[in-house]
């Protein structure tokens, strides 16, 4: 601004031409440092006055609050640009320091530079050749920032030599002094013999004066050294700019806009910002220092003052620096870093307008896409609507109503941009004068698009676009079906609402974030928006086999579905005589297809929880009606429950509707179901009372029997244990075995009691209904209420001993009985005894602690994952690349499919069985003849040879194979049917030729039309499931892995086949994998054997497991003979033979000699015979020898004679008669090398070790498998494509990088992104040291700079073809050409 004004004064005779370049976009950002001169040039004012305000409360001239740096508060005016508090951006001032000081941020970098240069001439301490070599490397344009840093480290290591090749000066070692922030040069090591003389000469002085030769390198000395440095040397040290800029000579005083001053106490005093206060202190110290220097004060005083100035400058930059004892101020770094800091708090996330937040409540009468907004809220949130001929009357009315009457408006924006507030002024006039093109900020109305969100926003479905419905009262309301994606309940949860302000934003929100378009989770393609709780219960009760409705009731129920607004075709009653009755299942058929105009033909089969397979006949005949079969939108059989209607499945009703038809079909079906069931259950009533949990006589008896049986079994185990006769389980001692066995028995008691409950309870029992249909509760919950609460566990074991050898003083010492170790035999209904209650609280407490801890843990994990994967997206060439264009995957997930659209299990694109069934049902064969097997193969082959089934056409071979396999299975079925009916397998006769032929056609026939449609649908749908270019696949992957983490219980152990072998699972394990931890808590190598017999397993186990000498020696004795004392080792050959160890005395000799603590020569350890060794010690002092012998004797039993030292133990695991080994410990290479081990099949769960042993590809696979395994043990299925992406990112640099601050800083090179992640200040200082340039490509950088990112819809770029300009010819055309 100031510059502009000055230019105005300059009168030009001719207006200079200034090209209008239009709006500019920041392309890149370079970090560098300011020198003192530059700071002074930038500044508007020099600051030296320590006063803030004058007597008249005006900012003091040249003070920290000088008005030339901007207005200090709302009252002031900037004297540089004459703007007020909101207009003036602020201007810098400068503060000249009397003596230079160090910048804490650069302290380590300064130290590094100093280490590399000569402390006399400032040249680098490298030889000429090395200098050239490194310079060449540094100047390599391909070298990345990380590489350059590595070179710099190399150079620093090479600069150890003390003598400068240039001037011959002998340098000392540069290090940080013990006192804070001083750099010293230590000559201690340079001193040669001559110093001894010096020391001797000084020795007569008092005190222990050590002859320390330490020179302090003061900041001014450092500055002068840096000034002497050559530019070439700077380049070598990765310095972008002159090194003297690292030293602070002038301080840029920041504008007042960032450190406002506020008057308190009616203007009597002011409240100052930390920075203002610190700067003021600096000014004080600075002036004292100058005075001291000018007045030639004693040196120590000056030095003290200088040091004080230094600490204050440190405080200004970093008030939490370790050199400072606690500071009460916030330095510059503190403003930037942390969650509330500038980067994370203000740049990456901003506060927004047009938002609402209130309590939520349910409303089944709303559509799933709607949200009810209170009128109160709707009057504040507005949408700017442009006036056009279509809406002018509506908007006129809005304007007339004004801001206080509901469908009103708050502002009108005229064509010239002036805003009229409708609170003031004549609304009628404004309404009358409304013209096309005006913008009316009207109240929210029905149908407006709003974004709805609930924290924690763990996945993208946590914020979705709904349609507004303005309703009375004070809560936000929505359909319960949408609870799942938000993970919301109505126990007082609050949710947020945002209103997009432009038409573009609305459309984009609706298309990408609309509820209808997010019914499925991209985690694994399962449906997320689906019926819950009461909807399931009422559907379950409606579809019971014995619910019948007469005409009146049935019609009433039909009208419930859609507010009586849509036409409904009542079907023929199932029972015509003796009375007309409709079944509940017919009601559901109506619900799915209300009238003949609805062209929805639903075909699906699912197995509900209650399903039990009837023997010999079709599963539809399940006696408990658990097999759900919809055929052409008619419910044939089955009682609907969670598996059909609920969330988290892929072949349920809504998923099938969504895939086979569209999201609208699924959504409208959900709407109908919600209305029907809410109204139905309101009439029917559903409640739970005390009689629901009262066990009957029979049930109590059964329970008593179960408990008595279990207790008796436990007593038997305990008595066996007492006698020591318990047969041990592999890898367990007696106590562990006992625990395992008792725990097994006790867990069974509760399970059995649950079974009895489920069997014995009346079908009207409410908890039973809820558990069976899956709306709430499990059999275990019922069993706990009615029969038996069961074993309480703390840390995965039975209750621990809180007293000496017992849990509570109510029990005898060392009691292992179920009751004494936390088994609760009572139910919640009968009530718990005092001890049971106490044990129950112990278990409950653990659960509470667990949830509290895991929230923080998983939150941080998700954040790291997000930062690591945020910029990965699919490009138009199907590759997955990061923001700078580096390829992470060539094809996303190996097949380029979108995980959200996968229909089959385990991420397979299509569920062929279901699709085939649908085609067969919807394309009736009619009179067409069926195809013979050979005809089918012919048609299939013909279709497969087309372009869209080829690899170039984008069809993966896996899909092709699955399709042809499926058709083969159909062919086999056809052949089987025909042979069973005694027809010719390969030649199919006409449908009309023969009765049997017709039956066969009805059973398994396929017509050519059916086959054609089936193949066509499969292929068409497969191609639709490709992932779209621009999809932010990285963010989705991070969410898909992070979100399930929150649901995992924190500490879980799992027995890897063998009871004694615990494997870390849950969040800690995921953390280990993602961090690429070097040391994991339970490394396990699964060893497959060449020969899986027990004997060979034992032999291999002997080779792997560590055997120490003490275990195989019969005796180790000291023999004291007068000639020569020695130690005699006798080996136990029998034992070695039994365990198949094959240890000879030579092996023992070798082991002793190679033991690191024993230093003996080969001739000292003599082999006497195959089982006897004798160790002699070298002759010497007799007493000393005695001692040595005893120490040796104590070491010897621990010498490892055989096996891998890093292996803790190996356990044989038997699986169906096949034996393999589980090795606890590391060193995969050694295990693979052991004879008898099948090295191709041996696996380890240690990612880093796999990388070191087998390479990067193996480690990639290992990461995928381990995450998949950990997730699956918690019952969570995640599409493997997400895991692939994560592990590809972790391994794409050639080494396994963890998703930690170290790993991420190696993966990304954007400074802004790294600064917004962790270690903000460090990254910024390093970046300015080496002059890093940020290209603003990634997501974080774009958000920080406010630029649209190159992801999703932003991947699109419009380019215009510009015709080349016609070439101008100079001179006339040649006469002759």
């Amino acid at each position: 601004m100031a510059l502009v004004r000055r230019e105005e004064k300059l009168r030009c005779t001719k207006e200079p031409f200034i090209e209008d370049v239009g709006p500019r976009r920041i392309k890149s950002l370079r970090f560098s440092m300011f020198s003192g001169d530059e700071i002074r040039k930038l500044a508007e004012v020099q600051v030296w006055n320590n006063k803030l305000y004058n007597q008249d409360a005006k900012p003091a001239e040249h003070g920290v609050l000088d008005s030339r740096m901007g207005p200090a508060n709302k009252l002031g005016v900037c004297s540089t640009c004459h703007g007020n508090f909101t207009e003036c951006p602020g201007h810098f001032g400068f503060l000249k320091l009397t003596l230079p000081v160090l910048n804490v941020g650069y302290f380590n970098l300064i130290l590094n530079v100093l280490k590399c240069i000569c402390k006399r001439c400032g040249r680098i301490l490298l030889s000429e050749t090395e200098h050239k070599q490194f310079l060449k490397k540094m100047r390599n344009p391909k070298a990345e920032a990380i590489q350059k840093n590595a070179y710099m480290k190399n150079i620093r290591d090479r600069c150890k030599g003390p003598r400068c090749s240039n001037c011959g000066y002998v340098n000392g070692v540069v290090k940080k002094a013990r006192a804070s922030l001083t750099i010293v040069q230590d000559f201690g090591k340079m001193l040669d013999k001559s110093s001894d003389d010096c020391r001797a000469a000084l020795s007569h002085l008092k005190g222990n004066q050590s002859c320390q030769v330490v020179h302090v390198l003061t900041p001014s000395k450092v500055l002068s050294l840096f000034r002497k440095m050559l530019d070439e040397d700077c380049e070598l040290l990765n310095l972008y700019d002159r090194p003297e800029k690292l030293i602070v000579t002038d301080i840029a005083v920041p504008p007042l806009a960032i450190r406002p001053s506020a008057f308190v106490d009616f203007g009597r005093s002011s409240n100052e910002d930390s920075i203002t206060s610190i700067l003021r202190n600096i000014i004080n110290t600075n002036s004292i220092l100058r005075e001291d220097l000018e007045n030639a004060a004693p040196l120590f005083k000056c030095m003290d003052c200088w040091a004080h100035l230094q600490t204050q400058v440190v405080e200004y930059i970093n008030s939490e620096a370790p050199s400072l004892t606690d500071s009460k101020y916030r330095g510059l770094i503190q403003r930037l870093k942390g969650k509330q800091g500038r980067f994370r708090g203000n740049l990456s996330g901003k506060r927004v307008e047009f938002t609402a937040r209130t309590v939520i409540s349910p409303d089944p009468n709303l559509k799933i896409t709607e949200v009810a907004i209170p009128i109160l809220v709707a009057k504040v949130l507005t949408f700017p609507e442009r006036v056009s001929c279509h809406n002018i009357e509506k908007l006129r009315q809005c304007v007339r109503n004004g801001p206080f009457k509901y469908p009103g408006a708050n502002f009108v924006v005229l064509l010239d941009g002036t805003r009229l507030h409708l609170k003031y002024g004549e609304k009628k006039n404004v309404a009358a004068e409304l013209k096309y093109g005006y913008v009316v900020e009207r109240h929210l109305e029905d149908g407006d698009v709003v974004l709805f969100n609930r924290q924690p926003s763990l996945h993208r479905m946590s914020i979705m676009a709904h349609r507004a419905r303005i309703m009375p009262w004070r809560t936000l309301r929505f359909n319960e079906s949408v609870c799942n994606p938000y993970n919301a309940d109505f126990d007082g949860d609050e949710m947020n609402l945002h209103v997009p302000q432009t038409e573009e934003a609305r459309t984009e929100a609706l298309m990408l974030m609309g509820v209808q378009n997010n019914l499925c989770t991209p985690k694994n393609g399962e449906i997320l928006v689906a019926s819950t709780q009461d909807f399931l219960t009422s559907s379950y009760l409606i579809t019971r086999k014995d619910t019948f409705y007469d005409r009146a009731t049935f019609s009433l129920l039909c009208s419930y579905m859609g507010d009586g607004m849509e036409p409904i075709d009542i079907p023929t009653p199932a029972l015509i005589k003796p009375v007309e009755l409709w079944t509940g299942k017919q009601l559901f058929s109506v619900l799915i297809r209300p009238n003949a105009h609805t062209r929805v033909y639903l075909n699906l089969t699912t197995k509900e929880k209650i399903f039990s397979k009837p023997d010999g006949i079709c599963p539809t005949m399940c006696p408990r009606d658990g097999y759900v079969y919809f055929r052409n939108s008619e419910l044939i059989c089955g009682q609907l429950g969670k598996a059909t209607l609920g969330n988290g499945n892929k072949d349920g009703l809504f998923s099938v509707l969504l895939r086979d038809y569209n999201s609208h079909a699924a959504a409208s079906c959900m709407n109908r179901l919600a209305k029907l069931s809410a109204r139905w259950i309101g009439n029917h009533g559903f409640s739970i009372g005390i009689d629901d949990v009262q066990p009957g006589e029979h049930l109590s008896q059964q329970k008593r029997k179960e408990i008595n049986d279990g207790y008796r079994e436990c007593r038997e185990f305990i008595s066996l244990y007492g006698e020591g006769k318990l047969t041990l389980q592999p890898g367990c001692n007696a106590a562990q075995t006992l625990e395992v066995k008792i725990t097994g028995v006790l867990n069974q008691i509760r399970a059995k009691a649950g079974d009895v409950c489920m069997r014995e309870l009346h079908w009207r029992n409410s908890p039973l209904i809820m558990s069976q249909c899956g709306s709430k509760g499990s059999p275990i919950n019922i069993s706990q209420m009615i029969a038996c609460v069961g074993q309480q566990s703390v840390g995965g074991r039975r209750a621990p001993d809180g007293f000496i050898d017992r849990t509570l003083p109510h029990f005898p010492i060392n009691s292992k009985t179920p009751a004494a170790k936390g088994f609760v035999a009572n139910s919640f209904y009968t009530g718990l005894t005092a001890t049971e209650f106490f044990f129950h609280t112990m278990g409950g407490r653990e659960g509470l602690v667990d949830t509290a801890v895991k929230t923080a843990e998983t939150g941080y994990m998700s954040r790291r994952l997000m930062k690591g994967l945020e910029d990965l997206s699919v490009h138009y060439d199907q590759t997955v690349r990061n923001a700078s264009g580096g390829v992470v995957q060539f094809v996303y997930g190996d097949d380029g499919m979108d995980p959200a659209k996968m229909e089959g299990k385990d991420g397979i694109p299509l569920n062929l069985d279901q699709l085939f069934m649908k085609i067969m049902a919807t394309c009736p064969p009619g009179d067409k003849d069926i195809l013979s097997p050979s005809e089918i193969t012919e048609i299939v082959d013909c279709r497969f040879s087309k372009y869209d089934m080829s690899l170039e056409g984008g069809c993966s071979s896996a899909f092709k194979k699955s399709l042809s396999d499926f058709l083969d299975s159909r062919l086999a079925a056809l052949r089987k049917t025909r042979s069973a009916l005694q027809l010719d397998e390969n030649h199919v006769g006409s449908r009309h030729s023969n009765k049997i032929e017709k039956v066969a056609a009805n059973i398994a026939g396929i017509t050519s039309k059916q086959l054609e449609v089936f193949l066509g649908t499969c292929i068409y749908r497969y191609h639709l499931k490709k992932v779209e270019a621009g999809a932010a696949i990285g963010a989705i992957g991070a969410q898909s892995i992070g979100e399930p983490g929150t649901q995992m219980t924190l500490k879980t152990f799992h027995f890897a086949g063998v009871a004694s072998m615990n494997v870390t699972l849950g969040v800690p394990r995921i953390k280990e994998i993602i961090n690429a931890a070097k040391n994991i808590s339970t490394p396990i190598i699964t060893t497959i054997l060449n020969c899986d017999t027990l004997i060979s397993a034992r032999m291999v186990k002997g080779c792997i497991e560590r055997t120490v000498l003490g275990e195989v020696a019969e005796s180790i004795k000291i023999v004291l003979k007068n000639s020569q004392p020695s130690i005699v080792i006798k080996l136990d050959a029998q034992r070695s033979e039994d365990l198949r160890l094959g240890i000879s005395s030579e092996i023992v000799q070798h082991a002793i000699l190679t033991h690191p603590k024993i230093k003996l020569k080969p001739e000292d350890v003599r082999v006497v015979n195959s089982k006897k060794l004798r160790i002699f010690l070298p002759q010497g002092n007799r007493i000393k020898l005695q001692f040595e012998l005893h120490t040796l004797k104590s070491i010897l039993p621990k010498v490892v004679v055989k096996g891998i030292p890093t292996v803790e133990r190996a356990v044989i695991n038997s699986d169906k008669g096949k034996h393999h080994l589980l090795v606890e410990g590391t060193n995969l290479l050694a295990v693979m090398g052991i004879p008898g081990v099948c090295y191709e099949k041996t696996k380890s769960n240690h990612v880093i070790e796999v990388h070191q042993t087998l390479g990067i590809e193996a480690s990639r696979k290992c990461i995928i498998n381990e995450i998949q395994y950990t997730m699956s043990t918690h019952g969570m299925s995640i599409d493997s494509r997400h895991m692939m992406l994560l592990s590809d990112l972790m391994t794409c640099k050639g080494e396994v990088l963890g998703i930690t601050r170290y790993g991420i800083s190696k993966m990304k090179d954007s400074v802004l992104m790294l600064a917004s992640f962790e270690k903000t200040a460090e990254h910024l200082f390093n970046a300015s040291f080496s002059g890093r340039e940020d290209q603003i490509e990634g997501v974080s950088e774009c958000i920080i700079m406010g630029i649209p990112m190159q992801l999703g819809t932003g991947i699109l770029k419009v380019r215009q073809r510009v015709d080349p300009l016609p070439e101008l010819k100079y001179g006339p055309d040649p006469i002759l050409s």
């Binding site: 199932a574 005589k577 006949i617 419910l635 069973a980």
Partner: protein, 146 residues
Amino acid sequence: MVELLFEDIFTLTRIDPDGKKFDRVSRIEAHSEQFDMLMQLDVNTEVYPMSVGDKFTMVLAPTLSLDGTPDTGFFVQGGRKSLADKFEYVMHGKLYKISEESSGGPHVKVEIYASFGGLLMMLKGDPSNAANFELDQRLFLLMRKV
């Protein structure tokens, strides 16, 4: 005259072979005399009680009209004369599956499945008896005790 798809006299052998699961509906198992068919059928026993040993005629027809006009799928109210007049218990439903017996043998039997609004029927017998049936056919089941 209406063409019946199937007609036979059955004897009820068992009620609820897997135990009683529903209050108002029982699954009956019956054998036919003429064609030696096995039938499993869910019957609303509240409105039409049945007991073991009952003998009844069971007819499967594509339409209830006496002149054989095909069933439209729409229910027409009114007391027109129909096939149902002669029977005590009439159900309407749909044939949804025909399959061969899963346990193979030389004389394989064919199973016909129909659902009457969730009340299921399974008819097992010789393949030749299944020839009249088509998939997705609308069926009327008529019963009369004899």
